[in-house]
Symmetry: D2
Subunit: 408 residues, 4 copies
């Protein structure tokens, strides 16, 4: 067995095991929760990530492999039109069968077969890496989806115990960047297709905040009537505020003293980094502060030069912490940072051939780019060129704000 295969198999086992570890504290009843069409039940995430390996690796490449159940290809296909029929997304919570036990058996069968395939087919390494990165994405979704579904239960269920908060808020300051002609996009190592090709852009001089916005700073926005001033908001954002009578970030309780977390209802610590705001709120906050959000190119350019790490999924806290010291603290981890950039193809972008070509390109419309990873992202899933994307109204991710501004 090659060393590369050895490493890949070890990575495979580690990533797959982490999915199951995340679910360990859950009961069978929790595993089916789905509070809205955008989120999926934990059990579905466990199944869908196995579906990826069975569909794209084992069926076409492992001779003699027999699928666990012929219906599962359709049941756990999330959106790949090239793969054929899909089960309606809003109905995923209705799949009480396969049960959790059956899904775990399926995972075991897939893992056993992958342990054969990985050493036998080194040429599939890239596709397998894609499968592992795909599973890491679903690990993050599993956490944020579960938080959302749990939030509908007045009993306030918890996945973890409350994490301690180390540190206090560093005063806000800015780093200056000269800009100019810079290169943007993935270099070496694994990257999703949407991070390619690496290409040249022109940046005006800009400055970037030393840390994300905190709960305490956002509370000041609320107390200043931020949610009541149309002049602070994008037109679609103001319509969203009015239609849903929005007055605070998702999970903040009406008293602004507590918020709902994966550790249940917890006191809102003003020193902690703010999460669960959408693009409209991020943009309005920045306007209120007399600043703006960074573009994704500015962010990536800065991240190539500095940037330290905050809370990541490996720590098991699943909450942003306090921002540390340094010029670009918490650039990675803690919260995904909304950028002012629409999610669009890079110049010269090409989708992959076949069904995995549906991975990223077809979502390049109506969404905004977020950068940096969150407290629910695995450490080895973070990188400066990573482009996450969500609709401007989405709030259920660990999404926050880092301020930027022009330099004249």
């Amino acid at each position: 067995m090659h060393h590369a295969s050895n490493t890949l198999l070890a990575d495979y086992r580690r990533v797959r095991r982490f999915s199951e570890q995340l679910c360990a504290p859950l009961c069978a009843e929790d595993m089916g929760l789905q509070a809205c069409p955008e989120v999926s039940p934990p059990r579905w995430h466990l199944a869908h990530t196995s579906w990826f390996f069975e569909t794209f690796l084992l069926k076409p490449h492992l001779p003699g492999y027999r699928v666990f159940h012929p219906e599962f290809e359709k049941l756990f296909n999330s959106y790949y039109n090239g793969i054929g029929e899909q089960y309606a997304r809003p109905h995923r919570h209705l799949l009480s069968r396969p049960t959790g036990d059956q899904v775990r058996q399926w995972r075991q069968q897939v893992d056993d077969a992958m342990a054969q395939l990985i050493p036998a087919c080194p040429q599939l390494a890239d596709l397998i890496r894609l499968g592992l990165n795909h599973e890491q994405q679903h690990q993050e979704l599993l956490l944020t989806d579960l938080l959302f579904s749990f939030s509908f239960n007045p009993l306030a269920p918890a996945l973890t115990s409350a994490p301690p908060l180390d540190g206090t808020t560093t005063p806000l300051s800015f780093s200056d960047f000269d800009g100019g002609l810079v290169d943007i996009g993935a270099r070496d190592g694994f990257a999703f297709d949407n991070e390619t090709p690496r290409h040249r852009v022109w940046l005006n001089p800009f400055r970037l905040a030393n840390r994300p916005v905190t709960n305490g700073e956002f509370r000041a926005f609320i107390e200043d009537g931020g949610y009541q001033q149309p002049a602070l908001w994008l037109s679609d954002g103001w319509a969203w505020v009015q239609q849903h009578d929005i007055r605070r970030p998702l999970y903040w309780q009406a008293d602004l003293d507590q918020h709902f977390t994966l550790a249940g209802l917890q006191p809102l610590d003003d020193n902690r980094i703010l999460a669960h705001v959408n693009y409209y709120e991020a943009d309005a906050y920045a306007r209120w502060a007399g600043l703006r959000l960074p573009t994704e190119q500015e962010w990536e350019h800065a991240a190539g030069q500095a940037g330290s790490e905050g809370q990541v999924a490996d720590n098991g806290q699943f909450q942003p912490g306090a921002a540390g010291d340094g010029p670009l603290a918490s650039l990675f981890g803690d919260v995904w940072e909304w950028t002012a950039s629409a999610y669009l193809p890079y110049p010269g972008f090409q989708t992959a051939r076949g069904a995995v070509g549906e991975y990223n390109g077809k979502f390049m419309c109506n969404q905004m780019v977020l950068r940096g990873g969150s407290c629910a992202t695995s450490r080895d899933h973070l990188r400066a060129s990573y482009r996450n994307f969500f609709y401007p109204h989405h709030r259920w991710q660990f999404s926050g704000i880092r301020l930027a501004g022009d330099l004249t």
Copy 2:
């Protein structure tokens, strides 16, 4: 202990046990299923029926009784505005906690306490009887709700094994009734408030079919283009057909060869009694047949003179059978029979005082009366004066058709 209390306690134990027996074949994952706001998860039904006894009996009447959990009063209040806040009905599937084990512990605590209360307070017998009838109603809903939720799973889960069909279709014939001044409404024994007061009505001479419509007869309606002829339909019914592109009864598969049942996908037997049509379909079928649906008064008047029983929940088949012989076969059991009567108060109707007064009266608008009970109704829950009611578009109950006509 009085004999009456003895009987009541035995009834209490029997009815409560039946709820749990119905759920015995289900896994924890099934117990949370809720496919639409109108249906509730099995676990919720088990909890809500305990809520009734805790709220209306144990809290006010058993000294020293401590509620199992202070939040449950709100979580499992279905609609009693007088009891205060309610948990949003469409979100019941999001209550993964309390788990099935906790709900069973709650049931046990309630049952233990009721075993003290029943012999101690004979004056509460009527309210306890109401609680037991309430639980029997929820047993039927548990079955029809589960069938509906299961129907969204392409794996076609089953609660029971397929029941055999005994008998064939008796030819359609009619019994004649003279009508005149007759008395309608509950006499002795337990009855819901909506069956009272007993009162006088005038009936013209009418005739009533010897049995309900069968699958085979309804198939003829479909094959004759029944779903394509607006002249057969009420205006609201035709709008419903067009909006949802309806072409067959609920659970019938597109090939008209199979239907989904609590025994999974099964062949559609033409001899079996038709179920899962709504009022619009029942009315259109009757018009197509040159006849009409009976009024609830005609039905009850006939039922007071004759009427035999088909499948009931006690048999554990949970499917209508073939109609037997006799002048009014399957009048009780098999399927609830849509009547041409809107669900309205009887002359002189008074609601009960207090929160249980919300039981029936406030639903007396926009719904139609069904009579006779179904294969999911317990035998001792059937009676000639029983008024069931659903909206005209509802199809998920075991609801069918018995034809009637005028005599001139």
Copy 3:
């Protein structure tokens, strides 16, 4: 020419002319207003009523008659499925063509042709009478639809000048009726099919209020928190109140001092008869008053013995007045009175053959019966057996409340 034909032609001319008189104060811009799918523009009413005569009378019966425009049959067919395609109801306001002038030309052509047909075909008299009653129904709708559409204009347009109020509120009292076996339904003269056949019903003894509820009395209900007490409301009614945050009758302004009328914004006179409440509000008010609504049979039985007339369309005021003296004041005119009866077929009811058979029967589901006519109904369109019907949530008709109760 026969005397009957003479009379019919005179009636034809009078009724047709009244439609145009109602529109005389309107500008071309007003004639296209449609504020919701349930209402139609004045111009559409003028066209549709001509469509009736062209489609059912002139085309089949007047040799050589040429339709005014071949597309109009589809454009102005309201709901007769037997007549073929229809233009989508919510889009009627988009028919700027035919213009008002063209519609008036069409009316003229129809009227000229009808003047030939009426004397020539005495056997068509019943169908022509139906057409005239149909036009009178649309005259009432034209007024109530216009009021609704005008109400969206902050400039508060008016059709008429403000009518004076004569009289004050007579104190509430009741007439007693013995009930027993009584006959209900149309006798001689013109009647819609839904008023037939005349048939026997049993009525318990009851009492009926001397007059409808006034604005002042309903204000007391509001001030007593009537819209905030769920126990007063039917379940569907309470859901309606909460969903739309209802706090007062349609057209009442928030200050409860003014209401919008066909004479524009006017002071709310407590002595005037209340209008523009729906069935839910009528039912809640009656419950609050410790009474109930009458059944349609009780109402008709009482109306056969007494009943005086209030404001009718002929007066041109288009507002309810103050109730006069006498045992059953304003039984006819002023406001349609909600009954506790669902709109269902009478025993033995048969629809007419052909397309006019769609006139009434297919609406016999989900609606409630109103009796007595309103200030927008023509005097010769009123009769004791007349059954009007609307959905329980509808408020844009001149619909009010007359209280009833049981006699024991």
Copy 4:
């Protein structure tokens, strides 16, 4: 009077007169048409453009000016939150008052007052120019909104007579551009704030088609099953196709032989430039053709070097023509060309102070940029830096496709 004021007053009169000329062929009934919330009635456009001058110019700057009607400020405010309350956009068709005559009187009063203000206040020239450009934008909307509203009338009303088609389709070819560091954004002369500041961007080498896509070319896409292949579509685009069962461009009839135009139903000429596709269709067509849409920077860079003009509003045809010869035919006029660029602020963008600051900036989210003007745009309203923007699903503008590609 200064020469500049002289010119401005002449421009004012010319632009204002053009609004009224566009409406000259319409009857009063047409002037109120509004087929969906996004479009406005012609009469509303005439009023709202006067509102701009009254609100931003006459009220604050002309001493002694008295507003025409105190309610109009609210009725005809389209979206300026800074100006206070607005009338609900979907209800604009319900404003039968003010009538067309009253709106014309208002326009006259405003024009008379502006004729005083313009020479007296040369410092207001920029704001007045903004008002005129605003009116020109509404002239285009008046035409596209009217086309949309007319399309709901089976009588197919027409504003103009059918224009002749001169010319045939030039074969598709491409111009190559080197890219590099280029400057983008408004230079001298009037520009909206969203075209500023002029700034530097890096462009890779690219090529741009010599003309827009024609009806005939898009027909080939349809006949090749373009609307049935998910792989051609963005994810949101495919959802839109499926939800609305889209099979052809807006206004194309089912037979693909005719389309609805401002000259009524007309034969679909394959040589004419395609219009009325949305961003999803434009993007799918480009993918099907193996190419892509240009970015707005590529488009503007090319337009700075060449580009000829097709049909513009001044010609009065209100339909795209055939593309002429030359390297970048019809770059201006004929159809707005969808770009691959999201509508976002330029680097360093600042909104204007006060209410006119709401003009453009607050819409910079969820929309895509279109370039070049259309057959409904006035000639003097076109320029290379002009940024139009609509949501990706919008089709009612004259919006088409110009293909682009990468050069390697």
